[in-house]
Symmetry: D2
Subunit: 423 residues, 4 copies
């Protein structure tokens, strides 16, 4: 999303601000005002709140500290739209975001307008004594907003799906995958490797520092597990066989009554998948999606394989071109492997790939001590790393070193699985 050429030149950062901020609003165009209010579970924030919170981020971390004459748009927003930054102050409980009918959607758009204007004015001050920090925080804010653009899709999908009318975000024909890619294993020697981000552009703090990992020889599947393969797992009693599951996974299957991935509906004979583009039949050759870590792990055990570690994944990905289906294509649903030259298909895009790695700090990681530094470090417990981006990710937002993370029972992200084996 953030085109390389924009970053680093002043007007390019301003242009990126305009473009990314505009994009958040473009995504909302198909919605009715009523849709902006939905919060069907604690984790699936209302669209309104995403629009306001991303604005709050710039207001709180850029305008308030660095634009002395900036008048806060509304004092209460500091509380209402703070997500989890304890060092900024207390927050509205996450489950209560859907109760904010006021400020209205129109007021939040005005909030965005005012903050954008002030932000651009601040960026134009070439001699500002904190110019570097302002630009750095602004860039972080843009990447933060891109993350919320992906959450916009996952959250509105979940929220709309709870309506018995199965409302469609955007009517669209999703093309079926035409050519089958046979499962093959790509071998890697591994060894003592240095991992983590080493480019010159932006990365999140959790991708650093560069550090060494010893990786034994392994093989990676040439593509993600497909819907057709997952249907075979279900048909083989996958959801009824405790021996395939981690203990906590089996408990989740039973307490939640899982019998298929999220959004899969059965009329007894056939599956229908709820998508942002309407109900569709499964595409047997397209990646399976909306599965938890537990389901990914059980599927792998069923096949005799396992999940890759995040280090294996990064080793395989770091030399590769970023190819796959992204949000930029306008289809917010994973599709089958493209006919690419690279033997490893779809490492990027389509579905986030669950790894076997618990989300933890890299050796030497130390988060900063300012409020804005609560970004990543404090979540490094109880979650699992996913890699590679999805059909709801901006193509320019993803990197080989990018670490996403969710709880092992989470299913509302575009999460899938690629198999690995030890050699």
């Amino acid at each position: 999303m953030l085109r390389a050429k924009e970053i680093g030149v002043e007007d390019q950062l301003s242009a990126a601000v305009r473009r990314v901020r505009k994009q958040s609003e473009t995504l909302c165009e198909p919605l009715a005002i009523e849709d902006y209010m939905l919060q069907a579970m604690a984790e699936a924030s209302p669209t309104k709140w995403h629009l306001a919170h991303t604005t709050w981020f710039f207001e709180t971390f850029v305008l308030k500290p660095f634009a002395p004459r900036y008048q806060p748009f509304a004092a209460e927003y500091e509380y209402l739209f703070n997500s989890y930054y304890n060092r900024v102050g207390p927050q509205l409980g996450r489950t209560r975001r859907g109760l904010l009918s006021r400020p209205t959607v129109a007021e939040i758009y005005r909030y965005r307008e005012v903050v954008d204007e002030c932000l651009l004015e601040l960026l134009a001050q070439e001699s500002h004594k904190d110019r570097d920090l302002i630009r750095q925080r602004t860039e972080l804010g843009l990447h933060h907003e891109q993350q919320h653009q992906e959450l916009f899709f996952t959250d509105i999908k979940y929220n709309l799906s709870q309506n018995p009318l199965s409302p469609i975000y955007l009517p669209l024909d999703i093309p079926l995958t035409s050519s089958k890619v046979t499962l093959q294993w790509q071998s890697f020697e591994g060894g003592l490797q240095t991992l983590g981000y080493d480019g010159e552009g932006f990365c999140f703090d959790n991708e650093l520092p560069r550090h060494q990992q010893f990786i034994p020889p392994f093989a990676l599947a040439n593509r993600p597990v497909t819907q057709g393969e997952f249907i075979a797992f279900i048909a083989d009693g996958g959801y009824q066989r405790p021996e395939l599951w981690l203990s906590d996974g089996w408990a989740a299957v039973q307490s939640n009554g899982w019998t298929a991935p999220l959004y899969w509906r059965s009329d007894g004979d056939n599956w229908l998948l709820y998508t942002l583009h309407g109900l569709v039949e499964p595409d047997p050759l397209a990646p399976v999606c909306h599965i938890s870590f537990y389901e990914a792990d059980a599927y792998a055990r069923w096949t005799g394989a396992r999940l890759p570690t995040e280090f294996e994944w990064e080793l395989a990905a770091r030399e590769r071109t970023i190819e796959g289906h992204f949000v930029n294509d306008g289809i917010i649903h994973p599709r089958g492997a493209c006919n690419a030259a690279d033997p490893l298909h779809q490492l990027f895009g389509d579905v986030w790939e669950w790894t076997a790695s618990a989300y933890a700090p890299y050796a030497g990681f130390t988060p900063g001590s300012e409020a804005v530094d609560e970004y990543n470090g404090k979540f490094m417990c109880n979650q699992m790393v996913l890699r590679g981006g999805s059909c709801a990710t901006e193509r320019d937002h993803i990197r080989p070193t990018y670490r996403n993370f969710f709880y092992p029972a989470d299913r509302w992200q575009f999460s899938g699985v690629r198999l690995a084996r030890s050699l």
Copy 2:
């Protein structure tokens, strides 16, 4: 609300349909579209849902059975907007009403328009073979809609109150009560009395049949308990003294952390009351409101008095003129006693008065066996009767025999208390 002269003459019923149905929409005028979506607790339905459900009632019980050419506006509405009529079919879970961003508010208004038009057309068919039943069901539907108009106020009040911004439904100055009415006791001989509705107009089935009750001599307070009196109860440790409370009431105090009526907020020194017209200081001479049965009962015990039974209340009320503050005045908040000739002030309007009577069928009560008859009978357990209407009730909707009922812990209605004593 349903003026007597309208009922019984054909065009008058149609006029009532127009007027009552229009009134529901007038009440919504101060709302933003976003406000229509709010459901902050299971019991506080979204405004959208009230508008649709009251329409569903006419569609289901009048149009579908009696207008053979009527095409249902949308097949799914039968499920979405059924409240609890099991004989009609299954219902969307009550807690999920706030998840319906679709149909939009605009679509629900169209639904109302279509149903109204068809209903009026049906009412105009003078020779319809089911004409009497159609008119009877229509009349029931109008009273049903008036009940939801009161719920509109209690629900939107609760829903807006959960927003830290304390949004105001309609800005308005609530006049302070100017003259004090000293508490006095009005005596009644009681005896064997025949109670229940015996007029010729409409009443709900739970007001019937007329039946006999023996009532020992008693006295009734000449007005409801005031905010000033309730402040004294709080100041005397009323919420900290278990001996004043029913066992279940004390459990509710502790598990909910009650320290004052609902909507009362303290800054340590002073109380502020959240109202539909903004935050106001208490009016010491106006009735206390938004208290549970448990609080009403504990207050009564604190004074050495008790709550009246619903039969005592009806005996006192049945000969009286209906005077008090109603929704017709445009102020949705209770006010102090008016300077009336009647020694018993405000039996009607201002606040519903909790009685000591559990909601139960009158001797000989038998509900009908059709779906529409699920109206009252099946709720005759675990709830307490309230009498007299409130500031959110239409003046023409209330009667001396009218029985309202809520669970003893409910506080979001305009519920208050009048004391009684045995003689």
Copy 3:
């Protein structure tokens, strides 16, 4: 249990103390020490706790106030074994009673021994200035202990039933009912009646004051509903038809998954009933038992009848001899009607009969203001009255005016149903 001749003469009260207190211990003889610890739900207190709490009652309300030289057996017991008397002080949470492995069972028996000895010594002081009050409190304590003897059975039954081994309290053959009593209706004229206790012996405060009730003509079934009849209700889909149920009852059916009375187990084809004497097949002619008020009410609606009010029941019962199966027979399970001269069978014993009456104070009821007076009044909300005693009640403990009360969803008491009709 308290034989009339004992009460009123001093040594007779002491004899009653000895006998009733001994009886509590006799009931426990079949138990293993481990059984005394069980508390499988909050309401089903451990046997240990019953033995201690009934002792606490005498210690707290007789010895501490009236025996100045009495040294409390253990200071902590005041807290540990107080059930709900807030005016005595705070209490161990009810759900935590099963966590008291100490004091051991042996220590509680010693506690009983010490308190009994001191109590008998106090009763022997003929010239004690509070002699009347001491005797009155002692008598209350004995009736209180008899209530806990019934709870001993209902609680240990529930607690043992949760063990997959279905342990037997006391092995015993329960005789099958041999002769069928055809359902017949006994008519009563009703009218203005004076109800409540008017004898000279003991009664609880909730049976007073005598007061008038107007009762319309009604008929009462000549016996309780039988297991055979209830099997027909189940077979007719009784638990699947919402139209038969109160709204709260239907919610209870669904959230609890009820498909039969408590302790009924199905192997698909046949029912087995867990009893204190082992698993037995249903006895079609014996009263159905362990049903909630909701099930009683749904059954009545299914037949077109209703539940009697507690006033109808008392009117029918007050002139009758107390006949039926009681704990004194040693079989803790209801049996079929005996071949009695009275056309109304089994008003007493076998099963408590749910009435249509919410538990409420009689007109003029005012509980005292001492701690011991928290006995009944504060529970007069949300519960329904049951009448007549059960197979777990002492024959001498029951009276026509005796009011028992439980929540409408409670099923672990020996609760059944007798039908009524309006005439």
Copy 4:
């Protein structure tokens, strides 16, 4: 516990069976029968259940498959005392273990006796065709039983602690630590290391396979964090400062109301610690104990240090003598560092040390496919590794490669913390 010389020679294994099995019963000697029943939370199993389950292990995995003439002691025990082995069959829900008053304690001791006898007889069959497997499973069963001996202590401590009487397991004076060990840092070069068990004796499957890890240079504290140091953390507002906590940790602090380690009680001015030997004042020089991973992590952050990874810990521990306080000393409470020659004190014994490592399979780990192989692998998610054993561990049970694991919020184990730093 399993002395090296015993293992490998036949009669030595039988001797170990006798000794370890006897030890489980010796630990119970101070208990009253009532104590065996306690289960105050799902995780804290009753003593009875531990005694039965460890027996079930030998019956299920040794006797049933390999002793063809063995008659199961009681068919239902297969269900009642199975912990979580899904391939054996369904299990009694864990929260229901405390409901098993039957079989009685005496019957469980008989069960132990019968199983022990048959096991010893089987071990004596020198020519049994499955002799190796029998011996291997028996050895596993003994280590399993030793783990439950530690759980016996942690569970009975939790269960007794819930009694307001604070019962004492075994009265004993816990000696205060006399000499202070100043905090110092021991440096390690790290590098590419091979870790995991490589001895010839027993180890659990999760300690294998040997595999390589790259470890950057680090330093380890020379002793665990002390109670005195933790009191300073509390006094500095440690439990009130969200910036010190992981996000999930802060949520745990708030929802559980944590203000100190488990079992710490404050009378406002002073702390008292509930121990198995009675209430004691803190020993400022002894290790802090009964803290969650979250508290360990927050404490480390407060000091500017961090937790060690399990690999750092193993590297430091693997060359060392196993010294510290173990259950063998008879004092089930951690004590201060001994005056040892080794600069690293108490790596073993006293308190389990939380590491920064999520519990995960070592590279190449593959659990077997038999029921007994459900031992470790299926728990490798959501838990954190602890190392080193505690004051409740048998000295001979622990190894440098031993991996214990609990959820990050768990506090009822003897869990403490040792600090680490990156160099």
